[in-house]
């Protein structure tokens, strides 16, 4: 049994935001697949849990009037995998398929994967290349922030104690594009990525690259993008190192191995995205 001081089951968004403001030391429970193991290990102590499970209006995937794709905070990873509205985001679907297991994905939420803010989170590079935006609300405010700026450090986001993520917005893309996601891990499931990488390539030549597990937070590779745009993808054959990353050594890999693997995964991502774009042109 977990040591929980109190548990709330708000029935509306307004109720959940009010609780978050009024109840000190409270935290949001969505899928629970990250926080329940942490509670069990006493890595979080005696919190109050605000469980969103009874708020059906938060479990959605839909488009807005501008054609942006909106993913609600209670949409599970399985929901996103099977929804036609997300089917064109290949890298996002590939990344989600790597997360946990079928059992985990049936409960875990995309918003939770972001909120957990692991440097190795698989969905985050795949969302960064789509310029995903995070909608944050409290009882008194609401604002949107690019996902790229949302995560500050391992396990730390911009969220204040009285704030929660309401949805993720993927801006509409009005030209042909291709995305790819690559991941290195020790197993095909229930594993934390050693390195992950994602690439977006569009018909008009826009390229976006993001990598995870090689720096304190998942990042865009702005310098490498500029180089590829200026000199073509051939530059990837010759680079010895991606200078923008700063991997650490940990139980999963040494830092120089991560550097090597990041370079290879980015190269594969770009090559795959080029091939995919050719096929749809």
């Amino acid at each position: 049994m977990l040591t929980i001081e109190k548990i709330f089951f708000p029935k509306t968004i307004h109720e959940s935001l009010t609780l978050l403001s009024e109840e000190k030391n409270s935290m949001i429970h969505a899928g629970g697949t990250d926080i329940i193991p942490r509670l069990k290990d006493n890595r979080i102590l005696s919190p109050k849990l605000i469980c969103l499970n009874k708020i059906e209006e938060l479990r959605y995937i839909r488009k807005n009037e501008y054609g942006d794709t909106l993913i609600g905070s209670m949409a599970t990873l399985s929901d996103i995998e099977s929804d036609p509205l997300t089917s064109k985001y290949e890298a996002l679907l590939s990344s989600i398929n790597c997360i946990g297991s079928r059992q985990i994905r049936n409960r875990a939420t995309l918003v939770g994967n972001i909120g957990n803010a692991s440097p190795a989170a698989d969905s985050i590079p795949a969302l960064i290349i789509l310029d995903a935006q995070v909608l944050v609300s409290s009882a008194s405010t609401s604002y949107e922030i690019p996902l790229l700026n949302f995560i500050l450090a391992p396990g730390k986001t911009v969220l204040k104690p009285n704030e929660m993520i309401m949805e993720i917005r993927i801006p509409a893309i009005n030209e042909k594009f291709a995305t790819d996601f690559q991941r290195l891990g020790r197993r095909k499931a229930v594993d934390i990525a050693t390195v992950n990488a994602s690439c977006y390539l569009s018909e008009s030549g826009i390229i976006k690259l993001s990598v995870g597990a090689v720096s304190p937070v998942p990042i865009r590779l702005h310098e490498l993008e500029k180089e590829i745009k200026a000199k073509g993808p051939g530059v990837l054959q010759n680079i010895k190192k991606i200078t923008e990353i700063n991997p650490i050594s940990d139980i999963r890999a040494e830092n120089d191995y991560r550097e090597d693997m990041a370079r290879i995964l980015v190269k594969r991502c770009v090559e795959n995205a080029i091939k995919k774009l050719e096929r749809i042109k």
Partner: protein, 159 residues
């Protein structure tokens, strides 16, 4: 706190603590020992149950959070003495050795076959990738699921 759970088609009213996990409610309060306690991290799948048609690790689900959901445990698969085709297939194809992972494997298989009656081998592997077995090497488990899929389609085990 009082909650009402729908387990294997029956509604049960229970008094639980807020932090009580579904796995513990099933085993300790309802005596349904078929759902196994193992890693308690959501990593091994031994505690798999089906909630609203989806395979879920009951060790990381708060019981209070599934009050309005339909929960199926391994005990809910058989009908009296009549085994479910997936259970029969596991017996026929030696999909079980020590048996500890088996309830979870069978429920993950059921969740798969209910949505995808003719899965490929890769689809079976993905569906079972959250269930660890230390005994069988998985080959007979995969054969069991293939056999179950065919048996359900053909009515092989219908007496």
């Amino acid at each position: 706190m009082k909650i009402t759970l729908n387990i294997n088609g029956k509604t049960r009213e229970l008094e639980i603590d807020p932090g009580e996990l579904l796995l513990d409610v099933l085993r300790d309060k309802l005596g349904l020992m078929g759902t196994k306690e193992n890693c308690r991290q959501g990593e091994c799948g031994a505690c798999t149950v089906i909630i609203d048609g989806e395979a879920v690790n009951s060790c990381i689900v708060l019981a209070a959070s599934v009050e309005n959901s339909k929960i199926i445990t391994i005990e809910g698969l058989s009908s009296g003495n009549k085994l479910h085709p997936i259970q029969k297939a596991f017996m026929e194809r030696d999909g079980s050795q020590c048996g500890f992972c088996t309830p979870g494997m069978i429920l993950s298989s059921k969740a798969l076959l209910d949505k995808n009656p003719k899965p490929t081998e890769d689809e079976i592997k993905i569906a079972l990738s959250g269930n660890i077995c230390r005994c069988t090497g998985y080959k007979n488990i995969i054969s069991s699921v293939k056999t179950a899929a065919q048996a359900i389609e053909n009515g092989t085990y219908n007496d």
